[in-house]
């Protein structure tokens, strides 16, 4: 499943870039993400992703690896985790792009390729896709709100 999102944030690119690397503030914008830890700054992180569809709950202890980093412009990262209770795995390949617009605006774009494997797939591709889409939308809006709110 591939998702593309783009959000215009009314703050300069440097500020958005610094925000992305501030794990605690950044994680607060990821719906269902808790217990984020820095294993190696700029390279490796861990977190727990908790998601819910009706009575179905999943908890993925997730490791996040930063694969590429181009100052102020691009980040490529991979997140993967497994919920052994349910017998499901998740993998997300994430490409984040920052473009500076005139008058101090930034376009934050990301492409996420999400793979869900295992029993969770029994819920149906459509339901999972919709949930993932919702999570990414909420994330984009939360980043915008937080950064713009901080002025």
């Amino acid at each position: 499943m591939e998702f593309k999102k783009e959000v215009e944030i009314l703050v300069p690119r440097e500020k958005v870039w610094n925000f992305i690397w501030d794990v605690d503030r950044f994680i607060a914008c990821v719906p269902g993400c808790k217990e984020a830890k820095t294993i190696e700054a700029g390279k490796k992180y861990s977190a727990t992703m908790v998601e819910k569809v009706g009575p179905f709950k999943v908890e993925f202890p997730t490791s996040i690896d930063v694969l590429e980093r181009e100052e102020l412009t691009h980040i490529k990262a991979q997140a993967s985790g497994a919920d052994n209770k349910i017998g499901s795995r998740m993998k997300v390949d994430l490409d984040v792009n920052l473009r500076e617009h005139a008058d101090g605006k930034t376009m934050l774009g990301f492409v996420a390729t999400v793979d869900i494997l295992g029993k969770l797939a029994a819920l149906g591709h459509g339901i999972i896709k919709r949930k993932a889409d919702q999570v990414l939308d909420e994330f984009a809006q939360a980043v915008k709100k937080r950064l713009e709110g901080e002025g």
Binding site: V53, P55, K85, K119, G124, G126
Partner: protein
């Protein structure tokens, strides 16, 4: 494998509601178990306790009372397909119940359980919306009615409160002018698309038109924009407007591309089924 759980056996709805309030998310109401136990066996959900409501009295009857057909939430699909009252008064529901899932599911699965589990590909919710049904939610401190269109919130989510139980489904007693139909289409075990249509037909044409679509998206929903294209119209004009109403209903179905078909395909099928449902309802 089904993990160990404790079975609670309350003797009244109030007692069941109190258990739900006390146990919170660690417990779930258990009726027919056709979907709940399957999900538990697969390990997709786990509950420490199941609250068995199957033995509760008075929730398995069908009766015509006060201008309503009242169906107890514990009626199984099989009981409803065998009910002469349902067959006589609500032929579209009767036909739907004859075709729910398979014979094993119909034997133990209950109408109430089907609605409460809110599986997106279930049939009954869609037709109940078109029939103007009200669902009765009870808890120890009181009872309320929820219109069928307000019951489904999202996939697997309803507007029932944590300590409420669905006890009865109330459908307005149809008149001689009432027409309704539910049609579904799919090539997998569960339907890809379900469309329900109900209206009154007399000399003046169509009135009280209700259209609902289900299975295509996360939850069934009424489509007032499509209803408006048929409401108050003569039969011929309504027939001419069906294609447009079908297109509107297709867009409103929130169809999701999945193994049951692409979004475009499902939207198209909604239109096809609406036309056929109309023909079926007037014939």
């Amino acid at each position: 494998m089904l993990r160990r759980f404790r079975l609670e056996e309350p003797e009244s709805v109030a007692e069941a509601s109190e258990l739900l309030a006390r146990l919170g998310e660690s417990a779930k109401v258990y009726a027919g178990g056709t979907e709940l136990l399957l999900a538990m066996k697969e390990g997709l959900i786990q509950y420490e306790r199941l609250i068995n409501v199957k033995k509760l009295k008075g929730l398995s009857e069908v009766a015509a009372l006060d201008g309503m057909i009242k169906i107890g939430a514990l009626c199984t699909h099989h009981e409803l397909e065998k009910s002469s009252l349902v067959q006589q008064k609500l032929p579209s529901l009767h036909k739907l119940e004859q075709n729910v899932a398979n014979v094993r599911v119909r034997q133990s699965g209950t109408l109430g359980g089907n609605l409460c589990f809110a599986e997106p590909h279930a049939d009954p919710g869609t037709l109940l919306m078109a029939l103007g049904a009200k669902l009765v939610a009870e808890k120890s401190s009181g009872t309320r009615e929820i219109a069928a269109e307000d019951f489904f919130v999202d996939a697997y989510e309803t507007s029932l409160q944590a300590d409420e139980l669905l006890t009865e489904i109330r459908i307005p007693d149809p008149t001689d002018h009432s027409r309704s139909a539910y049609l579904k289409f799919g090539y997998l075990e569960r339907p890809s698309v379900g469309v329900a249509l109900a209206f009154n037909l007399n000399g003046g044409g169509l009135s009280e038109v209700k259209i609902a679509v289900g299975c295509a998206g996360p939850a069934p929903r009424r489509v007032p924009e499509a209803e408006a294209l048929l409401n108050g119209k003569g039969r011929e004009e309504a027939e001419r407007n069906l294609a447009q109403a079908g297109a509107v209903a297709g867009k409103a179905s929130q169809a999701i591309t999945d193994l049951h078909g692409s979004q475009d395909y499902k939207e198209h099928i909604v239109g096809v089924l609406l036309k056929r449902a109309f023909q079926s309802a007037v014939s």
